[in-house]
């Protein structure tokens, strides 16, 4: 039993949850008043959009690509949500559907022309930002009432962000890790040649993953305006790096189709918590990003140590 608990495999799987727990314990130690329904709600409220963006990034990483436009894309969908969707729901829905279709199209383009995803998505990030500025030149707009109502949901005993995170993690886990087509999709990341040889369409797989990423990007944008109630083209610029960091913190790897939806959600929670933790430590916001990076490096260094023990 002890041998099993100290095996690299178990440690690696437990690392995301462990780092989250350690961080939470540190917060409660520094600021005991955070240990309340209201405190948790406040600390974790932005995990929902971050977790959704992280899941979107995870879909892309599963097929060995990287999305550098997810932040800008979330910003765009937030702008659409706060303008078109609020004013003319039908048009707004169509616009958001077009965004998802555009993501699927990107996947097809990247596969078909064998382009580096980093270059394509970096270029697209400016396109998304440009469209967002066209739609909403100055910060403003209003989130649709039902989005605000959903994000402001008060659940007894357990804060809403935690329930939402669990639901997101489980739904994606079942879809990607338990379903039979999910195995094929992850196989595309592991050994695309083998999956192609078994008669599966790699184009379809890539398009599916990109469309799923686009869909979760839309959800992320909507949940974000549900919290802020107004939008801005730059509202989610940081999400690109948050999403990548969340996937990696959650035990995912950049290549090889090794990802974990539950881990990615925990990674997003951890990222959201580091911000609060640093505030409680009275570290000035100017230093927070650097300190966040420091925490990230510590966790990833731990993982590298575990991996080295395995080798």
């Amino acid at each position: 039993m002890l041998a099993q608990l100290s095996s690299p495999k178990f440690l690696r799987a437990a690392l995301p949850a462990a780092s989250f727990t350690v961080l939470l314990a540190a917060i409660f130690y520094v600021q005991p008043r955070a240990m309340s329904y209201f405190g948790m709600n406040l600390m974790l409220q932005y995990t929902v959009p971050i977790a959704l963006a992280t899941i979107a990034q995870m879909f892309i990483i599963t097929v060995n690509d990287l999305d550098l436009s997810i932040g800008a894309f979330v910003g765009l969908t937030a702008c659409i949500g706060a303008t078109l969707l609020a004013d003319t729901p039908l048009l707004g829905t169509l616009a958001l559907a077009a965004c998802v279709a555009a993501y699927a199209g990107l996947g097809a383009l990247i596969h078909w022309r064998n382009l580096p995803s980093i270059v394509v998505t970096l270029g697209m990030s400016f396109v998304w930002l440009g469209i967002a500025v066209l739609i909403l030149p100055t910060p403003g707009g209003t989130a649709p009432g039902w989005v605000k109502a959903l994000m402001g949901l008060k659940v007894p005993y357990v804060p809403f962000p935690i329930i939402a995170a669990i639901v997101i993690g489980l739904v994606v886990h079942v879809a990607l890790m338990r379903s039979s087509y999910g195995a094929v999709l992850r196989g595309v990341g592991g050994n695309p040649k083998a999956v192609g040889r078994a008669g599966w369409s790699l184009l379809k797989a890539k398009m599916t993953m990109y469309a799923a990423a686009g869909f979760f990007g839309v959800l992320s944008g909507l949940s974000l305006i549900g919290l802020t109630s107004a939008a801005d083209a730059h509202i989610a610029d940081r999400y690109t790096l948050y999403a990548i960091a969340g996937v990696i913190l959650g035990g995912g790897e950049f290549t090889g189709g090794r990802v974990s939806p539950v881990g990615a959600v925990i990674g997003a929670l951890t990222l959201a918590l580091t911000g609060s933790f640093l505030t409680f430590l009275r570290i000035s916001p100017d230093w927070q990003i650097g300190a966040q990076g420091g925490i990230l490096i510590i966790v990833l260094a731990l993982r590298a140590l575990i991996n080295r023990r395995e080798a």
Binding site: S180, Y181, R186, G187, A194, R197, A198
Partner: protein, 491 residues
């Protein structure tokens, strides 16, 4: 059942080219129902290409491809192969390392969906593993990446024999025993015999001639993209099989080279290296001014040996003796050799930067002069050495890489199968250049997969499974000997 239907596969005059390289030059092949067909041949004989054609992963340029008597030429692909019950276990593993054993089984079977698919896939693969490899020790929930290479190969083989829906007719096994130990190899081959007797057909490609001779009903020998012999297995012996694979060496060429042979051992030893796996103390020894050949089947440790020598020279490690600066001529030009964005001159000069430094910077005139000198010397065909390296043909790119090594101060030149995909004219020019440089005192370690090139060498070491298995002076060199050493007697 009429005659054509008892043939599972009929190939007629199938050809396949990769650019200018002819991989298959008109192959005829028939596979009967319920037979085990052995397929042997040296590196590059076209076996793997042929198997890819049968598996539907490559489509032939010309020729007729019939399955169960129906002509499917031009309409054959992976899906059609699956529907007709044809499976292939590829030489490089086709499993996804991030998935479990059961999930890998699922990828193979499009119909394995719905609730409980993981359990069904797991049971299916476990039953097959139990049947072929009793006591395998593989669990369906094991992640492939955590399994040893031998177990991965067992999973891959077992997966090929599972079926859902379409009945299985032909299983192609490309080097199935290469990662298996003697016991599991025996289990697999006995299983193959059993299913063949039940009416399934198998194609067995193996470098272990003992396996092919004792388990196959019929043996097909391929050479240079052609089928050169087809006979019942019982009609072959090990010696006749090796003879059928090899080619008759052009005697004149040998004699010409022999004339120039230097007496081994008259010059000091500059390289003495052993591979880690070597048990019997045999070492690769090179004297100054010698051309040493590294032979054997591809990927049996020759490149590793070259890199070891290279490392030793760079880090001055004591375990090997490497006396003098070294330079490496890469075989895989595109990934290991050329700098894609640089000019030809820059590509040639990069190994000699030390000698071109003036005031701490690279002297462009010296670089251009070096480029021009080697353009004339090695005949790189280009109007301007300042053009991008990619403007050259493959052969000329390779010449630029030779120029890089020869222009440097290196006394020992390591060559990692550098003539891959190079035309004959260029080859002959480079052979002469190597001979010329060797006479001036440079030493060459030359790994090649082309047996004919070994006749340019003074001494040849044959590698198998990472160790030296034969040590052939020039006068004893023959293709037959190399083949004999390259192929194991039995697993």
């Amino acid at each position: 059942m009429n005659a054509s239907q008892s043939h599972i596969v009929t190939l007629e005059n199938v050809t396949k080219h990769f650019g200018a390289v002819r991989a298959l030059g008109g192959v005829d092949l028939k596979v009967h129902a319920g037979e085990c067909l052995g397929l042997v041949g040296h590196n590059g004989a076209g076996k793997s290409t042929l198997m890819n054609v049968l598996a539907g992963t490559l489509s032939p340029d010309h020729g007729i491809l019939g399955i169960h008597g129906a002509d499917l030429s031009g309409r054959y692909n992976v899906k059609a192969a699956g529907e007709n019950g044809i499976r292939c276990v590829f030489q490089e593993l086709s499993l996804c390392p991030n998935l479990t054993v059961a999930e890998n089984a699922r990828i193979f079977h499009p119909t394995l969906t719905g609730f409980g698919w993981k359990r069904r896939a797991g049971n299916m693969i476990r039953e097959k593993l139990d049947e072929i490899f009793p006591g395998h020790g593989v669990h369906p929930d094991n992640v492939i990446g955590d399994l040893s290479i031998g177990k991965r190969q067992m999973v891959e083989i077992a997966r090929a024999f599972t079926s859902t829906g379409a009945p299985l007719h032909l299983v192609i096994l490309d080097e199935p025993t290469s990662s298996l130990d003697a016991v599991t190899s025996g289990q697999l081959l006995d299983f193959v015999r059993k299913v063949v007797n039940q009416g399934l057909s198998c194609i067995l490609i193996s470098h272990v001639l003992g396996e092919v001779l004792s388990y196959c009903d019929r043996i097909v020998v391929m050479k240079d993209g052609l089928v050169v012999e087809t006979r019942p297995g019982a009609d072959f012996t090990r010696d006749t099989l090796v003879a059928a694979m090899g080619n008759v060496v052009e005697q004149e060429e040998i004699e010409e080279h022999e004339r120039r042979e230097i007496q081994r051992g008259t010059t000091p030893i500059v390289v003495e290296a052993r591979s880690d796996a070597q048990r019997d103390g045999a070492a690769l020894v090179a004297h100054r001014g010698e051309i040493i050949g590294l032979a054997g089947l591809a990927g049996h440790g020759q490149t590793r040996m070259l890199l070891k020598v290279y490392d030793a020279a760079m880090r001055k490690r004591k375990s090997l003796k490497v006396d003098g600066p070294v330079a490496l001529v890469a075989g895989d030009r595109q990934t290991d050799g050329i700098f894609h964005l640089w000019s030809i001159s820059q590509n040639v000069g990069v190994r000699s930067l030390q000698s071109m430094i003036r005031h701490g910077l690279i002297d462009p005139d010296a670089e251009a002069a070096l480029g021009r000198a080697w353009q004339a010397r090695i005949k790189i065909r280009t109007p301007d050495m300042n053009d991008n390296i990619l403007s050259l043909s493959g052969g000329n790119q390779q010449k630029a890489l030779f120029a890089r090594a020869l222009a440097s101060d290196a006394e020992i030149i390591l060559m990692d199968d550098p003539m891959r995909g190079v035309d004959v004219g260029t080859k002959l020019e480079v052979y002469d250049l190597i001979r010329e440089e060797a006479e001036k005192g440079r030493t060459f370690l030359w790994y090649t997969t082309e047996t004919d090139e070994l006749y340019n060498c003074d001494h040849t070491y044959v590698f198998r499974d990472g160790v030296i298995v034969a040590d052939l002076p020039r006068d004893q060199l023959s293709e037959e000997k190399i083949l004999h050493s390259s192929f194991k007697e039995s697993a």
